[in-house]
């Protein structure tokens, strides 16, 4: 296992008290795999992966858990030692990677800066290497002398990916890497990304709110809701036989990248206030299948090979799936 995240707890200090944004999240990243972390805005997915890099807003507090990369617990490392791992072992394609390039420097200079300052390369070698990197992501070497504003969104995204791969990291964390792009470019960028991932055998943690992106490139998926993992497992299994109602709902709410016609139905309501999270299952207020026992903490159910669902009714998943496919199941559920 390349990366193991165990019982990660992250709080945010706010004027109204502590918000537990990530509450006991665990997941594994096997070497050479792409795992997708999916969930709606504010469910803590970005916070969870940012904790791996330790670059977080100053209001974030690490309150528990461990993050081990190849057996080293990153949480216990000093700031300085952690910095050594950054980019060399763990690279990051940030959310809105569109704006992740410094507007006042030529793109090539920024790639070279990383190669020289972080990779210890000679200036000349760095220039050759940046041309290679650009070729890898399908950008011409002459574009290295452009400024970021001369790039289109997709090109900037490719440049960010090239930057992330610059020092051949073991792990790349990509936070919503294609969200700001239109679907055609999304697919191109995802294809490039997936090809390079296979070629270079890096592991990728891909954060997205779009379950069709997960279906398209990921090997494993972790579904998060309100700071907790609700379901996780191999993509094919989880998407074919979702065992948690939230995953079923999420799947119904997104069109497929491959273009199959399917009626979409939204999940009504909004996630709970994390300042004062509800007892028991956090999805129950929006869940069409909630029952009395849902006020207690949901147990972990192993529903398939490596496929875990945190739901009281996970054993009845097959029946629930059939009901969940009907649009009317999701109408008028919210009890708030």
């Amino acid at each position: 296992m390349l990366l193991e995240v165990r019982d990660l707890v992250i709080d945010y200090r706010s004027t109204r008290g502590r918000v537990r944004a990530v509450d006991g999240v665990s997941f594994n990243v096997p070497a050479g795999a792409i795992i997708g972390i999916v969930g709606e805005s504010g469910c803590g997915k970005t916070t969870a992966v940012r904790a791996i890099t330790r670059v977080m807003p100053s209001s974030a507090v690490f309150s528990g858990g461990s993050i081990s990369l190849n057996g080293t617990d990153l949480v216990k490392l000093s700031e300085r030692d952690m910095q050594k791992h950054l980019w060399r072992d763990i690279a990051y394609v940030p959310q809105s990677a569109m704006n992740a390039l410094d507007p006042v420097w030529r793109v090539g200079r920024q790639v070279e800066e990383v190669l020289v300052a972080r990779g210890g390369m000679e200036k000349k070698a760095a220039r050759v290497r940046s041309e290679e990197l650009f070729a890898m992501v399908g950008l011409g070497a002459n574009r290295l002398s452009d400024y970021p504003h001369q790039f289109s969104g997709g090109m900037r995204q490719r440049a960010s990916i090239a930057l992330a791969l610059a020092l051949s990291p073991k792990l790349v964390i990509a936070d919503e890497p294609v969200t700001a792009l239109d679907v055609v470019i999304q697919r191109q960028v995802l294809d490039t990304f997936a090809t390079l991932q296979k070629q270079l055998n890096v592991s990728v943690v891909l954060v997205t709110h779009d379950i069709s992106v997960v279906a398209y490139v990921c090997d494993y998926v972790v579904v998060m809701y309100a700071g907790k993992v609700v379901e996780s497992g191999p993509v094919a299994d989880v998407l074919d036989r979702p065992a948690h109602p939230y995953t079923m709902g999420l799947y119904n709410a997104f069109p497929e990248l491959s273009g199959d016609d399917r009626e979409l139905s939204p999940i009504e309501g909004s996630p709970p206030d994390l300042l004062d999270p509800p007892q028991g299952c956090r999805f129950r207020a929006r869940c069409p299948f909630s029952i009395a026992t849902c006020t207690q903490d949901p147990p972990e159910h192993l529903v398939g090979e490596g496929h875990i669902a945190n739901c009281h009714r996970a054993t009845e998943a097959a029946d629930l799936r059939e009901t969940a496919k009907r649009t009317e199941t999701w109408v008028g559920v919210t009890t708030e």
Partner: protein, 306 residues
């Protein structure tokens, strides 16, 4: 890969050429877009040329006391002949003083502006990026500097240290940095939250690298704006100090000329050619600087145009 580099080389040269030509094209549209800024630029250019070639432009040593052929003091000569602007009460050539004064004024103005902006930018970067206690300390320091009365402080400083133009520069730098520091701090605070700064942090770049490689170039335009304002301020201050008699005694400046004219009652004798030219020069250089900074400000903040 080797041949790719060879192709890239001539390309870089054409790029420099094309950026120069683009710059020239942009410069050629200035008179139409902003005639005031253009006038300011021309005026400044003239002053700079005068300052640079002052040595060959002067007709006499500005500090030399001149005598006529009968070995009488060449005092209070009217303009014309040997002396384009006449001579002073103590027999010095006014025109040469005026030309030399340009150099003094620009040296004081530019060095003071560079100091002000260097301090202001560095303080603004540090306060804005680190925030917290560092920010509080630096900004309270800025408040104190803003609270010190400007002219008296520079006079006292000039009186304490030897009166020289560098002390005037020192005094100006010490008191004028807070304005630019505050504005740059505010700008840094917004830049700090931008995605590309966050991205730089994730690559493992340290705070100093982020501040000076990634944030500083983004606030440089603001620094220049404050520099152009500080030049005028510095020249005015130096003139005031010299006029009040606390100026450097070893160099000729416009303020010194005004003081000299005042002390020897030039107005009473109607020697307008003595004190009006340096006065006009001070106004000219300050106004030119103001026009330039105004035009530059409009480029930075296009909304100001309306």
């Amino acid at each position: 890969m080797q041949h790719a580099k060879e192709i890239a080389l001539p390309k870089r040269e054409t790029r420099i050429l094309s950026s120069i030509s683009r710059w020239l094209v942009a410069a050629s549209t200035i008179p139409r877009r902003d005639p005031f800024a253009f006038a300011g630029l021309v005026l400044y250019l003239i002053f700079i040329l005068i300052a640079v070639f002052a040595d060959s432009l002067i007709t006499h040593d500005p500090r030399e006391i001149l005598f006529n052929d009968e070995y009488d003091l060449a005092s209070n000569l009217t303009p014309g002949g040997d002396h384009i602007l006449g001579t002073t009460y103590s027999g010095r050539d006014i025109y040469s003083q005026l030309v030399m004064g340009t150099r003094g004024a620009l040296v004081v103005g530019v060095t003071a502006a560079v100091c002000v902006v260097a301090i202001g930018t560095v303080v603004g970067l540090i306060a804005g990026y680190f925030g917290g206690l560092t920010d509080t300390l630096l900004m309270r320091l800025a408040d104190i500097a803003l609270g010190v009365p400007f002219l008296p402080f520079v006079i006292v400083l000039a009186a304490f240290l030897n009166p020289s133009q560098w002390n005037v520069v020192f005094g100006i730098a010490l008191l004028l940095w807070p304005q630019s520091a505050r504005v740059i701090r505010a700008q840094v605070m917004t830049l700090r939250e931008r995605a590309f700064i966050e991205a730089a942090r994730v690559t493992g770049a340290g705070p100093w690298r982020i501040m000076f490689v990634h944030i500083a170039p983004n606030v440089l335009s603001l620094s220049f704006l404050y520099a152009s304002i500080a030049v005028g301020w510095a020249i005015l201050t130096e003139a005031s100090i010299s006029f009040l008699g606390f100026g450097p005694s070893d160099s000729v400046t416009w303020g010194y000329m005004l003081q000299d004219a005042y002390a020897s009652q030039a107005l009473g004798r109607g020697q307008y050619y003595w004190f009006i030219p340096p006065g006009l020069c001070i106004i000219g250089v300050v106004v030119a600087g103001f026009f330039i900074s105004r035009g530059y400000e409009e480029i930075l903040f296009p909304k100001l145009k309306d």
